[in-house]
Structures are given as C-alpha cells and as structure tokens.
Amino acid sequence: MSDLTLETSVAKVPEAAPRSPPASQIGLVGWLRANLFSSWLNSAVTLLVAYLVIRWIIGFVEWGIVNAVWSVPDNQTQACRDLKGIGACWAVVTEKHRFILFGTYPYEEHWRPALCILLFIGLYVVSAMRRFWRKELALVWVVVLAAIGVLMWGGVLGLSYVPQERWGGLVITLILATFGLAFAFPLAILVALGRRSKLPAIKAICVLYVELIRGVPLISLLFMASVMFPLFLPEGMNIDKLLRAQIAIILFAGAYLAEVVRGGLQALSKGQYEAADALGLSYWQKTGLIILPQALRLVIPPLVNTFIGFFKDTSLVLIIGIFDLLTAGKTAIIEPAWQGFGVEVYLTVGAIYFVFCFAMSKYSQRLEAEFNRHRRR
C-alpha cells in the first residue's frame, strides 16, 4: 500500500471534495458577528462608536451642506456672519479659490498655472502605470517639466514674462514636491550606494552628508538657503529664491530617502550580490539589474511614507516668504471681509493635500501587492 502511494506522484492523490465553511461564518452576517458583536463588551463598544460617528456625520452635513452659504455678492459677507457658526461659509472658497490655487499670478494668465497643475497630474498618472515604465518615460519627464517651466515663466512664444515672486498656490507646492523628489530620489540612491562603498573617501562623504542634513531641521536649512547662501555667492550673482528653497528641499529629502534606500540594500542577502558577481555582471549591472530592483521593492512603504511627509513639508517654505498652497490659503483670509472663515479655507486646503497624499498611499499599496504577487517570502 505504502509503495503504491509512493509511486503515484503527490499531485495525483485524490482530493477530498471541498466543503464550504458553515454558513454562520461567511457573508456579511458572519463577518459582523465575528468582528463587531463577538461579545457583550464588543457589542457595546460597537454601538457606542456607531452612535458617535453618526452624530458627527449628521452634524457635519448640517454645518457643511444644509446650513452652508455657497456664495455671496461681491464680498458682502453679512450672510455668512448671520449664520453665527451654525453653517459653513463656503463663499470664502468660491470667492478666493483662484487665489488659493494660483496665488498672485496675474489674473488673466491663470490658465498657465492651471495647465501646469494638469500637466503635473497627467505626469503622475502616466508614471504610475507600469506599462509606461520604459526609458522613454524619462524623456517625457524632461519634456513636461521643461514645458511647465516655459508656461510659468513665459517670456517666449508670445507668453508674457511672469517673475517668480508672483507665482503661488498649489502650483508652487507641486513644483517643490515634484522637482524635489525627482532629484532627491536619484541622489538618495547614489548616497545609499556610496555609504556601502569600499572606497573610504566616498563612504565618508556620504555619511557626512546624511548625518549633517539629518541633524538640522528643514526650517533652518530653508533659512540658510534664503539668507546665508546668497552671502557666499559672488557680488551681483543672484539665484532665484524658489530655486534656493528647492535645493534645500532636495538636499533634505535626499538624506532621508538615502537612509530608507540603505535599509532596503541591507535587507538583501549576500547571496544575491555573490550570484551576480559569479555571473560576471559589472558593478553597475549588478546594482541596476539585481540589487536596486529588489531593494526598492522592499522599501516601498517607508519610501512612500517619506514622499508623503515631504509633500506636506513643502509648506514650510512659507517662512521664507514663498507662496505655496498653505500660505496662499492663509493669506486669502487676511482681508477684513473674510476674517474668521479660516476653518472653511483650511478644510479645503487640507482636502487638496489629502487627495494627493491618499493617492500616493493607495498607489503604493497596489504596487506592493503587484510586486509581491509572484513571491513567497
């Protein structure tokens, strides 16, 4: 008998007919029972939380929709003030949305930053799709970023020139975040590789860079970039304020991302390096084809975490007087007529940040699942 089973391969052993689990454990009812009402205490907590959530939702709907004022005739905010807080004054957003999105950019040219925002979003969407992950994508980035520069600055192709001081709003946030991460990420990879280099000089430089930058707050780095940096430049030479802030952000993000990438490099087994070496791959082939693809996959969650953090940290540029999304929102309610409607503006600005960050987070989860589908770990 035992001989018989040995000879038939495992796959051919007849399987017991599959049975479905008891009805009480599947479906919505089963899930509810298992997770929300498994015990007396659990049921009580469930009901209490449900009550609070529903109360809050009803309150928010009343304030935000039922009692809300959506627009007012030219800056006459009396209708809003009459609400005495029982309804939202979305009129402030209706009125100021252009300012929040575009800052002090010349009004009749607003289509230019608007187009830039769409270009940015298009760039994100295209880059997110794996079927476009080819060499040409880098070219697309260069072209789109250049186009955004032309659109914002103007001065060519019949576009009027708009100095950088007048840029503002969402487009500034997207510029800082996108250029920031687009440059910081490759920098981070090089630094992470450098920290593992066998050459002491390269290793020392990379360690020094990471430790120095991580040791100071981003705010002080931005201050240095805006106040001290020009002092070191030769007389008469002046680098754009936005560019200086951008460089500070790149350096800062680079140091943090480098540590994340290094974590991924360390998680790879020595065997992967040795197998690549034994096949005769060169250092850069080994790094680009074997090591980085695996290391980066391992660190998608912390990587995206850092990305999200930096997307929001760009709002710190307000301290050196750059008009990003948050600063624009803050400035929008300085006008006496609109004072006191900060909640509505901040909710709106918060919602914009949230959409971008949530998209990143969701995307990273999907990417991770996709990468790990074939792997048993």
Partner: protein
C-alpha cells in the same frame, strides 16, 4: 604524499593544460588562518570532489577560484590567467567559471527565463532572442522548460537548484564550481539535482564540487580531495580516499559521514 598523487593525476592528462592551478594559497579572515598552503591542480575535463568537516575551508577554496574571496598569498591560475586585482582578468575568468550555491541564489524578482538570459544578454551581449533560445535549451537539459515563465518563489528547492545550474550553464562556462548544491534540499529532491550534475559531468565539463554525497563522488569524481582545518590532507581516486584512508583525520571524518547516512 598528496604531491605524488597530484603528479599521477596531472600526468594522466598531461596533453591538456590545467584548467585550475592553486599554488600554495593562503587566506586569512582577520587573524584566522582559513587556507594553509592549499595546492591543487585540476586538469581540463577533470571532476574533483572536495569533502571535509564543517569549517575546513572547502567553500573558501572554491570561492577563491572566482574571487568571491580574495586570497592573500600564493597563486591561482584559471585557464592560464592569473587571479590578481586586475579587473579585466577577473571579468575574463568569471565568464569562464560558473558557480552554483548551496542556497540557489536565484534572482527572485526575475522569471526563470530572465534569470537565465540576464548574464548572456548583459555580459556576453547576446541578442535577446538568441539568449532565450539558449536558455530554453539548458532549461530542457535540466528538465524544467515548462517553468520558464514562473518566478523562483513558485518552484521547489530541487527545481530552483536545477534552474541555478541552467543559469550558470547559459554563460557557456568551461569550468563549473558547486558549493554543497544539495545540502539545502529535502532528500527526495537531492536525486534530481545529482542526476543533473551527473549528466553535466558526462559532457566533459571541468567540475569542482564540494559535497558529502559519497555516491555521487564515486560515480563521477576523478579525484576526491579531503580538507581539514584549512589544509588539503588527502587526495586520490574515490576508491583510494574512501576505502583506504591514510590519516586519522580522514578516518574519523568518514566514520562520521557514514554514521550520518
């Protein structure tokens, strides 16, 4: 004593130049002396099995041959090229020497086929189509062509190790190094890998294999090398080494191995 045996072995194939020459190789890890005057000449087409207790320096010896470890004293020549810090020479040697590891070390993010075509495409600059045809040929040889589009994580250990062999063969090496290729495998998978290796030996490939599989050693080895504490202690045909051990150390080792099996 080992000197004379070595002469016999190399005299038998005096017509062909030696594939590998280790000449009084010494290596230290920190202050630990792990290879002591290791000398070994392997003729082209010869199959050598290295055995010995754990920590005796078997892995280190064969890892020095493709410079995964650098030796500090003595000379190593592979196909007449001396291993030095010269990068060009190292590249030439690594193309000629395939290696199979105990833990397979397949690239988990690439499919089986991509694992096999990677080095031919990037190192040998072979067109992709050609590399794929070559890879399929070797996957056929190791009898797993149907797995070509799976990922390593979806294969059994024995299948992974056979892929690892195919991957190394795709570089058309003249020498193959095996470091305990079966010791991470379940018993029922050991045979499939050993069969693959026997098949490879029959093609006349120069092989150095660290293994404790005595059956395999008897069947294919031209010579068995016994190492202990960083030294080559005995060397000879499988019959000489296994049936007629000269030293106490080898006798102890053999009795332990036999008890283990």
């Amino acid at each position: 004593m080992s000197e004379t045996l070595e002469h016999i072995a190399s005299a038998a194939r005096a017509d062909a130049p030696p594939a590998i020459v280790l000449d009084k190789v010494n290596k230290w890890f920190g202050t630990m002396h792990v290879l002591r005057d290791v000398s070994l000449t392997v003729a082209t087409g010869e199959r050598v099995v290295i055995c010995g207790p754990s920590g005796s320096g078997k892995s280190t010896t064969i890892r020095c041959i493709n410079r995964l470890e650098a030796h500090q004293e003595g000379r190593i020549l592979v196909n007449g090229i001396e291993l030095t810090d010269d990068v060009k020479a190292l590249d030439d040697i690594r193309r000629e020497v395939g290696m199979v590891f105990q833990s397979f070390n397949l690239f988990p993010h690439l499919t089986i086929l991509e694992n096999c075509t990677l080095a031919p495409i990037w190192v040998r600059r072979m067109p992709k189509k050609e590399a794929e045809a070559l890879a399929m040929e070797y996957l056929n040889r190791v009898r797993i062509p149907e797995q070509a589009n799976k990922y390593p994580g979806q294969l059994s250990g024995g299948q992974q190790q056979r892929v690892a062999i195919a991957r190394a063969l795709c570089m058309k090496p003249r020498i193959m190094l095996f470091d305990e290729p079966t010791s991470a495998l379940d018993p029922e998978m050991i045979k499939e890998v050993l069969d693959t290796m026997v098949g490879l030996a029959e093609t006349g490939m120069t092989m150095i294999c660290v293994t404790h599989e005595m059956g395999f050693a008897r069947k294919v080895a031209d010579r068995v090398v016994f190492m202990d504490r960083g030294e080559v202690v005995e060397m000879g045909t499988p019959a000489q080494v296994f049936e007629n051990p000269q030293t106490e150390r080898l006798k102890t080792f053999l009795s332990q191995i036999l008890r283990g099996h």
